[in-house]
């Protein structure tokens, strides 16, 4: 069965008719040609499909497009200001935070969402003192980015890049 929905994708208003079984990830990639979110597992485990959904990071393979009518979706592509990359993107470039780049758009969205969570004071599994503001050290970054896998193993440089972008 098809339904008509409206999505705000990287600032553009898109109206489309989708089968109710279409995931947000498939709607973005196959219907709207927005290919920066990648499909790694379709299972919620790899994080390659991470987007910012109404401001929070989410795996777009685990939600139906129809359930997100009128939602705001920001992908890695939409984070740049024109030709100027987002600070997280720039830091990944400057620190060699990737090899093949397949996981990178997901890492970027996840890192941007994560920095916002830290700013809002959300504790993580490794946060020692729940009353103090979070100090974004290596342990915190690794834990908070644990939902994004990198098959090339570029983790060390991803951590460095995020640390730099956070400053």
């Amino acid at each position: 069965m098809d339904s008509e929905i409206t999505l705000w994708v990287d600032g553009r208003r898109e109206t489309l008719s989708v089968d109710t079984r279409t995931t947000l990830l498939d709607a973005l990639r196959e219907r709207l040609g927005v290919t920066s979110p990648k499909k790694g597992c379709d299972h919620g485990q790899c994080g390659a499909c991470t987007v910012l959904l109404d401001g929070r990071r989410a795996t777009s393979c685990l939600t139906f497009a129809v359930a997100n009518d009128e939602s705001e979706v920001v992908t890695a592509e939409g984070l740049a200001e024109g030709d100027e990359p987002h600070p997280v993107q720039r830091a990944l470039l400057e620190n060699d935070g990737f090899q093949c780049g397949y996981c990178t758009p997901g890492q970027v969205c996840s890192a941007v969402g994560m920095l916002d969570e830290v700013k809002s004071g959300w504790p993580s599994y490794v946060t020692e003192d729940l009353d103090e503001s979070v100090e974004l050290d290596e342990d915190e970054i690794r834990e908070r980015m644990s939902g994004n896998l990198c098959r090339c193993g570029a983790y060390a440089n991803i951590v460095t890049a995020i640390r730099e972008a956070a400053e």
Binding site: G47, R57, L62, V66, E128, S146
Partner: protein, 302 residues
């Protein structure tokens, strides 16, 4: 596939009554995995994400006990952020669920309805004597969580019912949760254990996960420990726990398990691990009680 998106709770209950075989979907982190892999082909999905009331929590009182009523669709990220000091055991467990992306979407109601023996929300809720509120167009009922789980991935929910909320008595003493299994989005717990000290009513609560077909409490271990603490006057004048007490507690917790062999671990390993987790979490909780910390919120690795 029909996709129903009720805007309010009574509309959702009507929809469930009219389509008893509809699959509810909240965070989607269990349902979507099954659908994407074609493990399930429901004719109708009932989306609960527009129902504001399911995303709220509030402080209430039940039988004179300060209690938090958590709407079924409150995601883990908010339990961690907003209830870390009121319900420390639950918040600790929530911090170990999946990945940050999963915690932003996954809900307690979904965890309970899935009723996986490995659901991380269950042990701390059992340790706190939580109750679950079910509702249908026929009315609402509240039952102890222990009675809700009836088998592996089976619950007492009727086809026309939805989970409205969970009622969790506020913590009055230290609570701990510990999980065995490497921690990231790929991992399901090998076994988990939650313990809560309830100094005000001089009781002890426990919850075991991945240890039996259903999540369960170690009732004998609870009674033994509460008795030993009372007998030695430990609640009013806490001293280090004798090794005989922690050892016996660990033994009784392990005895409450009925684990299986699977790819994640053997039954023998699970029983041994539970024994260790039980002693360890008890000693953390007891140290905290002795040092006068009323409530814990700290996380330690197992």
């Amino acid at each position: 596939m029909d996709f129903l998106r009720p805007a309010g709770w009574s509309e959702a209950l009507e929809a469930k009554a009219n389509h008893p075989d509809a699959t509810p979907i909240a965070g989607g982190t269990d349902v979507m995995v099954e659908l994407n892999f074609d493990h399930r082909r429901p004719e109708t999905l009932l989306d609960l994400t527009r129902i504001e009331q399911l995303r709220e929590w509030s402080r209430t009182e039940r039988n004179g006990v300060p209690t938090v009523r958590i709407g079924a669709a409150v995601p883990y990220a908010r339990l961690i952020e907003e209830l870390g000091t009121t319900l420390p055991g639950l918040a600790m467990a929530a911090r170990t669920v999946g990945s940050p992306q999963i915690r932003n979407r996954g809900t307690l109601g979904g965890n309970l309805a899935s009723a996986s023996p490995a659901g991380d929300g269950h042990p701390p809720l059992l340790a706190s004597n939580a109750e679950i509120e079910l509702e249908s167009v026929r009315g609402s009922r509240t039952l102890p969580l222990a009675d809700f789980f009836t088998g592996v991935k089976r619950t007492d929910m009727a086809p026309d019912e939805l989970i409205a909320a969970v009622h969790v008595p506020e913590g009055t003493g230290p609570q701990q949760f510990s999980k065995i299994g490497t921690r990231n989005a790929m991992v399901i717990a090998v076994c988990t254990f939650a313990v809560a000290l309830h100094p005000r009513r001089r009781g002890v609560g426990t919850g075991l996960g991945s240890a039996a077909p259903t999540p369960r409490s170690a009732t004998e271990a609870e009674e033994f420990l509460a008795g030993a603490l009372a007998e030695d006057g430990q609640w009013d004048d806490p001293r280090p726990l004798p090794a005989s007490v922690t050892e016996r507690f660990g033994e009784l917790v392990a005895r409450a398990a009925a684990p299986i062999d699977d790819v994640r671990g053997t039954a023998g390993y699970r029983t041994h691990a539970l024994h260790v987790l039980a002693r360890r979490t008890l000693s953390w909780a007891w140290d905290e009680y002795r040092s006068g910390t009323e409530l814990s919120g700290r996380q330690r690795c197992a």
